[in-house]
Symmetry: C2
Subunit: 475 residues, 2 copies
């Protein structure tokens, strides 16, 4: 492994005293500056227990190595009913599991839209009352079915998905097709225009993409496209312009080669080319495959999922299986569209924080200074955001290099103990949904998870630590 | 004008003493560090004369303002015989004018290929002897016909060109279509494969691009695409990946909408998408329009062309009309393909230094650290290259921002007097052609012009300075 975790080169780590760090930097000595601070309050006992777990170092090494080895290819495009075996009346959503009564506006709005799309209600009011009565269908988390959904992340059987696979072990993941910006289902909008677009995506775009993907002589290597987009100003979460353009380049000749009418092909090319976020829905399942590769290593403190349902922010950790550790989702600090403001914002929502879980998005902010500029920052803040993430991660991904940091790899493998020890929370870039059902997108910005998700995970890790001479049984 | 030339904000300019600069930077005070050094030897008298020219400040302000105001749209794609009225037997080439006897290997190789393509010779030997006897046709510089050609820059009547126009004043420029990398005519290769590709470009690609460009509802704004590529790791000379992808995005739907067979369209999409440099041939004529906008302002010391023919490196200056000031072209410091090395390299060749003349390419190196990495450098060297260019230019282009420099504009308007005063030469990124006719590309690297071109230009500017009370007539 070429990552930093196993590096044996001497490093100067400076704590607090900036003058020393500046002087060394001026002499071209690499410096790792660390903001020293006390551990998060109340975590001392759990930290002591988990840090003393003799399995931890090797477990984390295994988990992170598996993540770094994971790659993702686009293998098919299919309706969710085929790809996932999703039955009529089954709906998936982003984030940890949640029921209608606690669901936020954008999730409710998207579920209402999906009911209409699937023909399970004939009006928004009917859809809403059926859902509220528990007659609308079943709700489950995308993550529980090996996939991810941006924002509300609502998926119903007739929606089409990208299917990705890791060629080394055949593991699969999926994500919906991106609808574009503004009034779209994933932000909770459900107007006739939103539903018409989804119908066109199911009837025209999906089948065209399927034909193109199946015609290609070689599979599209999504991991390699992410590597290239990181060299082109995209961080793979709030900025996906280069990724979208490369996908278009790779699919366009195959779209032309399909038997479809040229008007449909031209419309598909315009739709993809006109939506800089189209690639997000490939970056996300690639990151899902990567994060999943690190799951279920006993004793590992590595975070393998971060996801929000608009009400709760939840994380999953390698050493604690499928258990979610949650806290209230925060409202992003961001830039608002038109006349919208913070009062219109729903709390943080979506599975797209899987990108940060895999080391891109906010973790790769250094490569996309245009994003911090949105919220009044600039290049130094972008560099600082990524530098901070190295303090809570275990490795650097040699496959995903950041040019502006002299091609240093993306910070990978969030360690719950490092979050608790430093108090530094993962940096997440995100879109902002309107809090009222049906509104759609109101902005984009930056957010961090609630610390309590990490302290709860730490406690569970401590409870799962086997007794040993240096870790006597807990009372 | 929003450029730095007219900025009235106080600035700290530090000369030499890095400790002061570092301390100020640490306190977030903007600092302009200047490497002070004595003027270039032998230029003192000319510098005194030109700097005392009362016309100079206003003339340079006008020249640079015109450059910054220039924009470029892609208006058509046509054969050179139509677009330029190029007659049979007329050949254009890169750089200042040159005849066969002094032409370097790659220029000779490209001319031989063009003779064969035009049916003016039936074998390379015949082409060569006719050219050597002066019977091959006429030779002239691309720049003399309002255009630019990469590397050898050879253009013959049947080759197709992009036509660009400045919408404000209708001025036009042109450039050939990019052939891809490796064995290609512009690097001096002329094998049957090279000629077949050119015939396909003339018979299929050119007409398809013409149909697509003419079908579009709006013209492609090349200046805006350059602005975006600078945010995506391209410097517009040695790296054009994002520019090429955006061009493909803008043309693909129109290609599909044309009446052409789908096999041809798919082949064109693959050809463009498989050649990361395709956009260079749009960036170059856009820069040509910009540089030409600054021409012919009496008293202006701004460089309006830098171009090489493989033997001579020439520059033109706003205040001295169409006169070329030349010196021997240097051999680039670069990375070589396969088993090639510096002994295989031809001296610097091509009109592509028009990109640096307009403030991108090597001048925008800060945005493309991958390029300096080729030659053993890294991010600090990339930043330093662009920072140095601010010392010899008069303005910052607000339309072309460099994210890593906190969105500072590209350094624009090379001033001959600043080059002479600082000894800093323009930084040029370039491809490297094999010196033997027919070889093709052997590498890519960095190069600077010969100082004597600038000192000769300075002397001519001094000679053209009208006598005045502070500038008595020269003896």
């Amino acid at each position: 492994m070429a990552g930093g975790m196993l590096s044996r080169e001497p490093k100067v780590v400076t704590a607090g005293v900036a003058l020393l760090a500046d002087a060394l930097t001026a002499q071209a000595v690499p410096v790792v500056p660390v903001d020293w601070r006390p551990p998060v309050e109340g975590t001392d006992d759990d930290l002591v227990t988990v840090l003393a777990d003799p399995r931890r170092a090797e477990a984390n090494r295994v988990a992170v190595e598996r993540m770094l080895r994971s790659t993702a290819q686009l293998v098919d495009v299919r309706p969710a009913r085929e790809a996932l075996g999703l039955e009529p009346g089954a709906f998936l959503h982003a984030g940890p599991p949640i029921a209608w009564d606690r669901a936020s506006g954008p999730l409710r709005g998207a579920l209402i839209g999906a009911m209409l799309l699937e023909g399970l209600a004939s009006s928004p009011d009917e859809a809403e009352s059926r859902l509220a009565a528990g007659e609308g269908g079943t709700l489950d988390s995308c993550h529980h079915h090996g996939g991810v959904g941006p924002m509300a992340g609502v998926l119903s059987p007739s929606m089409w998905v990208f299917e990705l696979a890791d060629p080394a072990d055949g593991r699969r993941s999926w994500c919906s097709l991106n609808e574009g910006l503004g009034a779209v289902l994933r932000y909770g909008a459900n107007s006739p225009q939103v539903l018409d677009r989804l119908r066109w995506m199911g009837a025209v775009l999906g089948p065209l993409l399927q034909a193109a993907v199946r015609r290609r002589a070689s599979r599209i290597d999504v991991t390699a496209l992410v590597a290239q987009m990181l060299q082109m100003g995209d961080e793979g979460h709030n900025r996906n312009r280069a990724g979208t353009l490369m996908l278009l380049r790779d699919l366009a000749p195959e779209l032309v080669g399909s038997e479809a009418p040229s008007g449909h092909i031209a419309a598909a090319l315009r739709f993809i080319g006109g939506n800089d976020h189209f690639f997000l829905n490939l970056a996300m399942p690639a990151c899902k495959l990567m994060a999943d590769a690190g799951r279920d290593v006993p004793g590992s403190t590595v975070v393998v999922a971060m996801a929000r349902n608009g009400t709760d922010f939840g994380i999953q950790v390698s050493g604690t299986g499928d258990r979610w550790f949650t806290g209230p989702a925060g409202v992003p600090d961001g830039l608002y569209l038109g006349s919208y403001g913070p009062d219109d914002a729903n709390p943080d929502i979506g599975d797209s924080a899987i990108t940060e879980t895999a080391g891109i998005g906010g973790f790769a902010m250094a490569t996309a200074p245009a994003i911090v500029r949105f919220v009044g920052g600039a290049v130094p803040e972008a560099l600082a955001a990524t530098e901070r993430m190295y303090e809570i991660t275990l490795a650097e991904n040699p496959a995903w290099a950041l040019p502006v940091l002299d091609f240093r790899g993306t910070p990978t493998g969030i360690d719950v103990t490092l979050v608790a020890r430093t108090g530094i929370l993962p940096q997440i870039n995100t879109g902002i949904a309107g809090r009222v059902a049906g509104t759609g997108q109101v902005g984009a910005g930056l957010v961090t998870p609630p610390m309590e998700a990490f302290t709860a995970a730490l406690k569970a890790l401590a409870e799962a630590t086997p007794p040993s001479p240096i870790n006597p049984p807990r009372s």
